[in-house]
């Protein structure tokens, strides 16, 4: 785990003090809302429908039990007893009072947390693979690079007023769990034919009203040049990105207007001028950051656990959770555990203060004190001994956190939608809840296999509907909520944008439609095809026919 050095600690404490002064001036009327808004957004504070909303950063999704307990404390003391994990590995609170926010930021700072870079037109919190440092399929831990990017981008004077917000994701695996191809910059660390590790640099992906899959502008970037290359990309964007039109201001518009090849040439030219300069970290500094992410003291264990085999045989419910929610670890005798924040019929990503405390206790006891937030609004325990899996499951079950649905039909991403969000046109959570209930039976869901359903309550696409195997977009028609279905999207290594199938449906009909589509897949799949594979094999037409024949 990264620990703050004196610079980090000073920076965060000074920022909290500065914001306290700004809040006081706003409350006295000395600052107008127009003057205050950019200041509060620099500290993750939005004004939503019912209240303010505070978004707290969790850099690359990794945090400790102590930090989780502080998040629980904030939920209890200043909010309404819960928090909401987002699609960028952050957590947000839906009800903080402005007068309390300075105290909240002080409390967060006491455990090395803050709300910096969670809003505004800056480089946002960098995200990564929730299995980092544990995945059997990674070339190395991507988090040291994510941490380098965090340090480089924090309060970067040149990039504090970009044309628009800017999101970077890093993975070190061929199985992309960080949605790198739909970020402003996606970085994939891999080993080339010569045996060297470096980055594939993907630029200009994104969702929102103009979705794009990113373009690879550099096949292989030696990792020691990561920061100078990022600096070159940001410089080109900062000077050439559009500032005249909010809807055309993201880097994806620039990349796709210029063409990826031309954009890449501009970056390479800029990079030539700065590479090897003072921006790239010297080897000893990279090693210093690396050291923070040294593997925890794993025990030497055999691959199999007799205790686990016994529990699996004795308890079918546990066996099912084990099949669905755990993943192979790179160290023998360990496993990765996914904690679903998608109970059947629940609100995706929501977690109560008691549940936060429970996760903190479990992680402290069984997973080296470390917790991960995922971009799919779940949590992960990265390093659990197989011998302990049954105890972990029992503890999770006692906290209502053992739903065995990781990556299944009820593991739905949904934005907060009109129940909370000022930008939304329609609700999205109730649709997620009804689909989850309709898909209910976990054995049937397991039989359906991986199925990514993603729901957004407006065109801004915070619910990632464009990249859902089944995507749902809420649209307002004269005060009524309608939902448009897209099919065939993916945010993984096989990234693609979904295609719209037909007209908008009412909130009741959309749940039936999802059931029809899933049924059509089940009847037509071959071998071990996922929904997405069958869709890609057959194309949109038969799915559309099935949908509208039923309607």
């Amino acid at each position: 785990m990264y620990r703050y050095d004196e610079f980090d600690a000073t920076m965060v404490a000074e920022r909290a003090t500065q914001f306290r002064g700004q809040v006081a001036r706003r409350l006295s009327g000395e600052l107008s809302e127009d003057e205050f808004k950019p200041l509060r957004l620099m500290n993750g504070l939005y004004l939503q429908l019912h209240a303010y909303m505070l978004r707290v950063a969790i850099p690359y999704g990794t945090f400790t039990s102590r930090q989780m307990r502080m998040l629980a404390h904030v939920a209890r003391k200043y909010d309404k007893g819960y928090g909401h994990f987002t699609t960028r590995q952050n957590i947000q609170y839906n009800w903080p009072a402005l007068v309390d926010v300075p105290d909240i930021l002080d409390d967060l700072a006491s455990v090395e947390m803050h709300a910096i870079q969670t809003s505004g037109n800056c480089i946002r919190n960098v995200t990564s693979d929730q299995y980092a440092g544990a995945a059997a399929d990674e070339v190395e831990d991507p988090r040291p690079y994510a941490e380098m990017i965090r340090q480089w981008s924090t309060f970067h004077p040149e990039f504090s007023f970009l044309p628009r917000k800017f999101k970077i994701a890093v993975t070190a695996s061929d199985n992309d769990r960080a949605a790198t191809r739909v970020h402003d910059i996606g970085l994939r660390l891999y080993k080339n034919d010569a045996g060297e590790t470096g980055f594939e640099v993907i630029v200009g992906g994104g969702l929102g009203r103009t979705p794009y899959i990113g373009h690879t502008i550099r096949e292989f970037l030696p990792k020691e040049h990561l920061l100078s290359y990022l600096e070159a990309i940001l410089r080109v964007y900062n000077t050439q990105g559009r500032r005249d039109n909010l809807y055309k201001a993201r880097i994806k518009i620039l990349v796709n207007t210029e063409g990826a090849e031309r954009f890449g040439e501009l970056v390479e030219a800029e990079w030539e001028a700065i590479k090897g300069g003072e921006i790239d970290l010297p080897a000893e500094e990279m090693a210093r950051i690396d050291a923070y992410f040294a593997p925890p003291p794993f025990e030497a264990l055999s691959v199999d656990s007799a205790a686990l085999d016994q529990s699996r045989q004795d308890n079918d419910e546990f066996a099912q959770w084990l099949r669905v929610n755990t993943v192979p670890h790179k160290i023998p005798g360990y496993a990765i555990v996914n904690i679903s924040l998608k109970p059947i019929g629940g609100i995706p990503g929501d977690i109560s203060d008691e549940q936060m405390e429970a996760v903190a206790d479990i992680a402290e006891r069984y997973s080296f004190d470390e917790i991960r937030a995922t971009h799919e609004q779940n949590l992960t325990l990265a390093h659990v001994k197989k011998d302990d899996l049954f105890a972990v499951w029992q503890a999770l079950k006692a906290a209502d956190l053992a739903t065995a649905n990781a990556s299944l039909a009820s593991d739905i991403i949904a934005c907060p939608g009109l129940d909370y969000c000022n930008l939304a046109n329609t609700r999205s959570i109730p649709i997620a809840q009804r689909i989850s209930e309709r898909m209910g039976d976990l054995e049937k869901q397991e039989d359906l296999g991986e199925l990514k359903i993603k729901i957004s309550g407006c065109i801004n696409a915070c619910g990632h509907h464009h990249v859902g195997h089944i995507g749902i977009l809420g649209v307002d028609k004269k005060g009524e909520e309608f939902y448009q279905i897209t099919l065939g999207g993916s945010a993984a290594e096989d990234a693609s944008l979904g295609e719209i199938v037909g007209r908008g449906l009412s909130s009741g009909d959309v749940v039936d439609a999802v059931e029809t589509l899933v049924g059509f897949y089940r009847d037509n799949r071959q071998d071990k095809e996922r929904f997405l594979d069958t869709y890609r094999r057959l194309g949109a037409e038969p799915f559309k026919e099935a949908l509208y024949a039923a309607a």
């Binding site: 107008s32 004004l47 939503q48 209240a51 402005l98 609700r427 005060g479």
Partner: protein, 95 residues
């Protein structure tokens, strides 16, 4: 007809401009203004910067109900999230 709504500055709670020019938490107590007057009333309300933020006009029909297009949004603002009936004003029970 229009009503003036905003978020209270100190805690963000949804408020409405009432008949006595004071902010009220009750949608039912919101004062109604002719469309011609509403812009002036809004401008005056917006100048009360130490009390509220994000003021705007919402359309209401003759019965004082928010008009169709904005109805769901304003109902949720007034009552609370439809997915958490235990939160917001909908959870504060009747006297």
């Amino acid at each position: 007809m229009k009503i003036v709504t905003a978020n209270r500055l100190e805690d963000g709670a949804v408020v409405y401009l009432g008949d006595d020019d004071r902010w009220t938490e009750s949608l039912a107590d919101a004062a109604q203004f002719d469309d011609q007057d509403a812009e002036n009333v809004l401008a005056a309300a917006e100048s009360r910067v130490e009390e509220i933020a994000g003021a705007y006009l919402a359309p209401v029909d003759e019965d004082g109900a928010v008009s169709a297009r904005e109805r769901l949004r304003e109902t949720i603002r007034s009552a609370g999230p439809t997915v958490r009936l235990d939160l917001g004003r909908q959870s504060e029970c009747c006297a």
